[in-house]
Amino acid sequence: MTGTKAIGVETLHMTKRFGDFTALDDVSIKVAPGSFHALLGENGAGKSTLVKCMMGFYQPTSGQMLVDDREAEIRNPREAHASGLGMVYQHFTLVPSLTAAENLVIAREDTPSVIDWKKERERLQAFLETMPFGVALDQPVNRLSAGEKQKLELLKQLYLGRRFLILDEPTSVLTPSEADELLGMVRDLTRAGALTCLMISHKFREVTAFADAVSVLRRGAHVGGGRVSELSHADMAAMMIGDKTLTRSAARSGQRGDVVLSLEGISAADRSGLKTIDVESLRVAAGEVVGIAGVSGNGQMELMEVLTGQRPVSRGSVSVKSVTFRGTRRQARDLKVRFLPEEPLQNACAGRMSVAENLAFRSFDLKDKANMNGKATRTWLDRAAMRRLAVNLVDAFKVKTASIESPIASLSGGNVQRAVLARELSDEVDLLIIANPCFGLDFSAVADIRARIMAARNAGAAVLLISEDLDEILELSDRVLVMSEGRIAYETPIATLDVGELGRHMAGHA
């Protein structure tokens, strides 16, 4: 182990160019030993370029780094690790089928060729006793909850003797209470002088609650920062976004109408096949957004699959406008049901087909393009009409693409999302079912997509929104449901919602 004292890191005039593109422009940031420093910025602001330069994944074009006030040249991640620098990534780097103990032991530089598990276990236990929190050592990592995995990631870094940690959006998959617990632990470790932490985050609440100092990046440049106690959320947002104006979600309008979607006594097996998803009753009416909150892996994706007809149910029925819904293309068309599944590139697109072809998936085989409800189908495609449709939709939904003939997989995540939304919203919609529509998108794309969803609601569509992002649920929903362990555990109208109560239900111990 490298030591038990926190180390400080400073970048001096760090610049990184990729060809003509300047990803990082003269950035100087000082992270004092034992501090909890937050790094804010939109997607593409250069946060990850900066930390990758610090960790030795990239070599800066110019500028230098100081570790504990001494100049340090870090040529690769191994040298960063040797200097005591570590990083916890947004996606887990734990190996899913290995146990926690195996993960910790194999991560070491000096893993012995033959592992004496008895001895290693004693050493791990001794190490865990010095930590403020523990994990189950013998469980395979894929059985741990997201919060436990993130704790294990943190433990791993400390076990490896890293004393300067970069956390890349560490709470994006955690419940509010798990996030508070984790960040509280990190803060305690920094206060004790055992650790310095640089956290990339989007969540102002976490920054103000836990961090000591903040630095803000915009378009590769360091645009501001300071002590968290001296900055308001508005100050930080202004630094982050700059002079851009954002699309605000349109105000709510329209009346709640008749029930469109109704699930009665649904029961289906979950992915592991060991548990079941049971939804006694779920109704969504025209002109309302029903948000389903919950921590990932509590049956939301299985519910989505039941709705799209991908997962067989053992009991119960899904009906749309009092008709039993089986998820066929014909039914979706007749009943005006549209879907926006999560990761749309995998789940709602054919990646190598062109943008125009992907946009025509709903309508390419109809004789009458203007009328999606026309029953007559065609044998020969009308490519000119498909192109016209694509040009219109690309324009209306501001999809950024080199050409409508480019493969859709070449678009950025936000633009794929916009394209799919364009296809799904291009006609009258009575029921819109959405899962995690804004996962991994930047600030402005998020605002745009949420405004579209809101507009569909105001036009009288029934919207079911399944999301792991609580802010999104709170912003869009008229009614909020919590899914926990395959059941609807809690329901409340947005007007009387209490976030604390919601969090307790999400965590499953209400």
Partner: protein, 308 residues
Amino acid sequence: MGEGDLGLWTVLLAMIGGAIRVSTPFIFVSLGECLTERSGRINLGLEGTLVFGAMSGYAVAYETSSAWAGVLAAALAGTVFGLFHGWVCKLPRVNDIAIGIALMLLGMGLAFFFGKPYIQPVAPDLPAIPLGFWSSSPQVEAALRVNVLFVLGIALAFFIAWLFRSTRIGLVIRVVGDSSDAARAMGISVDRVRLLATAAGGALAGIGGAYLSLYYPGSWNEGISSGQGLMAVALVIFARWNPVNCIWAALLFGAAGALGPALQSIGISKGYYLSYAAPYVLTLILLIATSSTTRAVRCAPGELSITK
């Protein structure tokens, strides 16, 4: 003891003996495939490796008059095939399944080409341990003549299981097979681990081939393999990527393979081709029975291209 009883006993004994004899190449090939697949790559070329191993093992055993030199040569040939597969798969935009099929055909073609002069000569056999020495019945004795390679194969299965559990090499193979991102983050060279795992898998398949030509059936000809190399892939899935389970799966397949000859030995020749097809029917039944429409294969290494 009635006549029917005797027939039943003969069939059962023949099947046990057959299971032991026929399963040995299955054990080796499936352990090799298991090792390769646990590293996240699938090598369908093992059928070609097996046939080439059978040829080269037989040829070297004949030339040197030593069966063990033959086994060594087969293992070396298998290693070369594995290294080639691993090296080609390292290149960008190469699909391991397509390369495997190409190598399967190449291996068989090369084996037939170089093996022509060795169809007639007789090479020395591998030694067997007469575990049936206590019995006066010649059938029991024949059934319990166990080849050294069978014992080695079982020991190897337990060794590989131990390797996966308690050694750094084993853990590294599992890490690479489960998440190449995690492996890269640890500074493990994913391609090199897979290259070596594929080479080791090839060596084991080569030994499996040597067993075919040097012990059972014990001669070299072009029809020596009946798809053991391909069925090993199904077998590994059935064994849930667990080396010790590979033994049981191989024994089961061996017993099914012995059904045809066993029935013939007591004079039942009706449906001859059907009973010979038993292992293939078993493959189908097992794969269908253990399949599911709603979830991915359990315990499968995360990086395997067929389960991704």
